[in-house]
């Protein structure tokens, strides 16, 4: 099978690191905003909101960059799930739950047409094309509340935006935790690959 060359180009590694830092900062500051209590002030809520808003704006730029870069390079093709994705996901899930404890080989290996396993594909696709856009759009509405909310009924729109924003953020937080764990079990080499160095990727069974 033809191997995947340069699977993590510089732009992707840079974007991934920036995006990761932004998402983590946004999750932490978002939780600090949601669960703010007067008696537990580490940083003032005002500062937390400024950091959250700043990172939110940078995340919008970062997301647009990701979409454009994916459109211009072949990287975008790896995210779109195939029709067989659900069936394949069960096979991958079985591997995580059973196969890997029995020393079975990975059911889906990287090659010219596949960079991610079906579970990764579904998770990355839904995060980048559903949850992140939802979060970015609702965040943008809430950030521009003064200009966009013109009458009393708009309060309801704001409430809905807030619920969607927080729900999408929750899904991304869950994704982050699982993503970090799976990166951890793949080993240090895997982490190096996505952060520091781009090289022809060896199949790592």
């Amino acid at each position: 099978m033809e191997k995947l060359s340069n699977s993590y180009p510089l732009w992707l590694r840079l974007w991934h690191s920036v995006n990761g830092i932004l998402c983590l900062t946004l999750v932490v500051t978002g939780l600090m905003m949601q669960y703010a209590q007067p008696e537990k002030i580490l940083i003032s809520l005002g500062t937390v909101i400024y950091i959250h808003n700043f990172c939110g704006i940078v995340l919008i730029i970062s997301w647009i960059f990701f979409i454009l870069a994916n459109g211009l390079t072949e990287n975008g093709t790896y995210y779109w799930p195939k029709k067989t994705v659900f069936k394949e996901s069960i096979i991958q899930l079985r591997y995580y739950a059973y196969g890997m404890f029995k020393g079975e080989p990975k059911p889906f290996k990287e090659d010219k047409t596949r960079k991610f396993n079906p579970l990764q594909q579904m998770a990355y696709w839904s995060t980048m094309y559903i949850f992140l856009p939802l979060m970015v759009i609702t965040g943008f509405v809430m950030y521009n509340i003064e200009r966009l909310l013109i009458d009393d009924k708009s309060i309801f729109v704001y409430q809905i935006c807030d619920i969607i924003h927080i729900s999408a953020a929750f899904m991304i937080s869950v994704f982050l935790v699982i993503h970090l764990y799976l990166a951890f079990i793949e080993g240090v080499e895997n982490l190096k690959k996505i952060i520091f160095k781009s090289k022809t990727h060896e199949e790592n069974d």
Binding site: Q34, P38, I41, G46, M100, I155, D162
Partner: protein, 321 residues
């Protein structure tokens, strides 16, 4: 004709009831007629001693009280000379009268059972501690905020929230948004409100949707409205005071608002007919669901990690043996 009269009457009553104000309409007091003749309109006429010449002059805005406004005011049943010295019957009024000490609310209302519901004593205690009393002892008094000729007692709790905010803030803005009125009580330069509040993340939104006194007064438990106006440096500047579960707004602006359960249970939902306050309004249902889901995910991860580490250890031991 009667039909139109009835419609107009209903409209008038409904407008007043929407604003929550009580229609008093005290009957005109004959003794007040000479005063109202000049002070009831923006322009008054003075005559020469022989009565042959006359001058029409503008009345200072602060000295004008239209009859209708006075009749509707809480003091509308009083004679002018009940409060103003007899000397005012001389026209033009002697200048010396202007330096007479004028009554404050306390002179008539303090310590009287009849006025207990207005918490006058508490209001006076609060006012004495306020920046208004401390920084402008010689120029400030009750009437700078509450015009005795037009004052109507309105419990802001009985008003629609927007009307309560407008009514409350209009009192502050009369000076804090008017260079002339501000100069009447202070030598300082009046600040641009948007500029002085630009440290807020959404300044305009805050200025429009909460009362000035929600941030600029100390908490008061026994008074209807706290009159202890704080200096800017001691006013609320921590967002978390309102944007949290123990939001101060629930004890101030929204203290008597009914709780609207809503389709999903929100914390501090009494504010939600009017606003949505980040940090104060949390969806309790979603909070519980998300916490359970997150704990489940963590449990699955830790279990997986436990078995994986055990497997790898066994695998490693197997290899070394």
């Amino acid at each position: 004709m009667i039909k139109y009269g009835l419609i107009l009457f209903c409209l008038f009553v409904s407008v007043l009831s929407v604003s929550g104000q009580k229609v008093r309409n005290n009957p005109p007091i004959p003794e007040n007629a000479p005063c109202i003749k000049c002070h009831g309109q923006a322009v008054y006429t003075t005559f020469s001693m022989d009565g042959k010449k006359h001058l029409r002059q503008p009345m200072a805005a602060s000295r004008v009280t239209p009859l209708k406004q006075f009749q509707n005011a809480i003091h509308g049943s009083l004679k002018c000379i009940d409060c103003h010295a007899e000397g005012y019957s001389t026209v033009p009024h002697p200048t010396a009268l202007k330096f007479d000490t004028i009554f404050s609310c306390a002179d008539c209302h303090a310590g009287k059972k009849k006025f207990k519901k207005y918490h006058i004593d508490s209001i006076i205690t609060g006012y004495d501690k306020s920046i208004h009393a401390k920084a402008m002892a010689n120029t400030f008094n009750c009437w700078k905020c509450h015009n005795p000729h037009s004052f109507v007692t309105v419990l802001s709790d009985s008003l629609e929230i927007k009307a309560a905010i407008t009514l409350s803030n209009s009192t502050c803005l009369e000076c804090h948004n008017s260079t002339v009125n501000y100069k009447r009580v202070s030598d300082k330069t009046q600040k641009n409100l948007l500029k002085s509040h630009d440290w807020l993340i959404h300044p305009e939104l805050h200025l429009k949707n909460i009362r000035c006194i929600d941030c600029h007064t100390a908490m008061s438990s026994d008074s209807i409205t706290s009159h202890n106006i704080l200096p800017a440096s001691k006013s609320i500047r921590e967002c978390v005071e309102c944007h949290s579960q123990k939001s101060l707004l629930t004890k101030k602006l929204f203290r008597s608002r009914n709780v609207n359960a809503g389709f999903l249970k929100f914390s501090n939902n009494r504010v939600m007919d009017y606003a949505f306050i980040m940090g104060a309004n949390r969806n309790i249902t979603l909070n519980i669901i998300s916490t359970i889901l997150f704990i489940t995910v963590l449990l699955v991860i830790f279990t997986h990690m436990f078995f994986l580490l055990r497997y790898r250890k066994q695998h490693k031991n197997g290899k070394t043996q």
